[in-house]
């Protein structure tokens, strides 16, 4: 047999040969691909899921305007507005989500920047009217306070899989607190000035303050909540660099 014939013999016999692979092969390929894909998709899915969770929680809370749980401590009638040191240091309860979040805040600026832009858009518009007249702020404050947790939540799950355990905890602790807390209602009149509570994590605003305090080390946080007479949380200050608004004297 000539060389060419030999080559041709094998080529014609084997060139289009088909052999069915065992099922195991796709399983292994699938697994290998899965490891790669999960890294790409994780941030987006987690952020989306977090937003949905928070939105649902917020929606559930808003209609409950008359909830004033008995458990809450009574407040004195007149609360003076005083110079307050940063609220951050006194909130020792919300430790769990904090350290990890500081870390990821540094490593995932894009997520934060994006939602900050959203916030700027929201706040820049309506809030400009708010400072003067409080009554017009009902829906905007509610909207902003709803959107606010996005920033925190968006920061947390971004890249670090270890955070997965801490974020649900924060979500869990946030939820019962939010369930107990009455929803955000606007400041009724300018005289009943909001007070910054230092020692209790008793409202949604306090939770947010605690978390924000760990992330934002400036004196003026990018957003700050305080509690009104009725222990409702309202936004008292916003500091986004460009936009700086505060209801309290500093």
């Amino acid at each position: 047999m000539q060389d060419k014939e030999l080559d041709e013999l094998f080529r014609s016999g084997l060139d289009n040969m088909e052999v069915q692979p065992s099922a195991k092969v796709w399983g292994d390929i699938n697994a290998a691909l899965g490891a790669r894909k999960r890294k790409k998709l994780l941030p987006y899915l987690s952020v989306a899921a977090s937003i949905v969770v928070l939105f649902t929680a917020g929606v559930l809370l808003i209609p409950q305007k008359q909830n004033n749980p008995v458990k809450r401590p009574l407040k004195p009638a007149t609360i003076p507005v005083t110079q307050q040191p940063p609220v951050a240091d006194d909130h020792t309860d919300a430790d769990t989500p904090a350290p990890a979040q500081t870390q990821t805040a540094a490593t995932t600026p894009p997520a934060v920047v994006d939602t900050k832009k959203q916030l700027t858009g929201i706040i820049n518009g309506p809030v400009k009217q708010t400072v003067g007249s409080d009554t017009s702020a009902t829906s905007t404050i509610a909207a902003v306070s709803l959107k606010q947790p996005e920033v925190i939540k968006a920061v947390a799950p971004a890249d670090d899989p270890q955070l997965k355990t801490t974020v649900p905890q924060a979500a869990l602790t946030a939820k019962p607190a939010m369930a107990v807390t009455a929803p955000v209602i606007p400041v009724q009149n300018a005289d009943a000035a909001p007070v910054r509570k230092k020692h209790h994590l008793s409202s949604f605003g306090d939770m947010v303050n605690a978390v924000v305090a760990k992330i934002d080390k400036r004196k003026d946080k990018f957003i700050e909540f305080s509690n009104t007479d009725g222990d409702e949380s309202t936004i008292t200050a916003v500091n986004l660099g460009i936009v700086k608004i505060s209801k309290l004297e500093k």
Partner: protein, 189 residues
């Protein structure tokens, strides 16, 4: 199975690029059997062939963006399989061990029955029995159709080594065929 192939190749490629798992599975199912056929020729046995197939497909999905649409998609996948198989050997075997043959083996035998067609399974068996170095070069030259220069580039051996590996591969194969046909007198194609 037919119902699932409702995508054109282009659409399938696009979906695979975006990481759509279902599309990837469809693509795998469409080409796996043929590609395993390719890998079997380079491997010593079925298990090795499936390892090569797995590595090859992972590479295919990783390099999906590189396919420009020039040339057939199947040809592109096949090239990846071949490269993947060679790389497998680089990792697992000392590929181009020069096997010393007796000079007696270098006589080519001309046997009229040798032109008869052999079944694919037999051919595969013959190829798998070759030492890996011979097997790879024979595959690349005789079946894939690469030149010695291309083989040298792909495998890291010299052109000269490629030529001699090919020659030795043919010699062994011819002998084996003769032996086979000797046993199966009257085997007709």
């Amino acid at each position: 199975m037919l119902l699932e192939n409702r995508y054109t190749t282009d659409e399938l490629i696009k979906r695979c690029r975006s990481g759509e798992r279902k599309a990837q599975e469809l693509l795998y199912k469409q080409f796996a059997a043929k590609m395993l056929g390719v890998c079997c020729r380079y491997a010593t046995d079925r298990m090795e062939a499936e390892d090569m197939l797995q590595n090859g497909f992972i590479r295919v999905f990783q390099k999906m963006d590189d396919y420009r649409g020039d040339g057939s998609f199947e040809g592109w996948i096949r090239r990846i399989m071949v490269h993947s198989s060679i790389e497998y050997y680089r990792k697992h075997h000392k590929m181009m061990q020069v096997v010393e043959l007796d000079d007696a083996h270098s006589h080519a035998s001309t046997n009229p029955l040798a032109t008869a067609k052999l079944a694919a399974a037999d051919l595969l068996h013959l190829i798998q029995q070759l030492p890996p170095g011979y097997r790879i070069v024979f595959n690349l030259f005789a079946i894939e159709g690469y030149t010695h220069k291309e083989i040298a580039d792909m495998t890291g051996i010299t052109e000269g080594a490629s030529k001699s590996q090919l020659s030795r591969a043919r010699t062994v194969l011819k002998e084996q065929i003769t032996k086979m046909e000797g046993k199966q007198y009257g085997y007709a194609g």
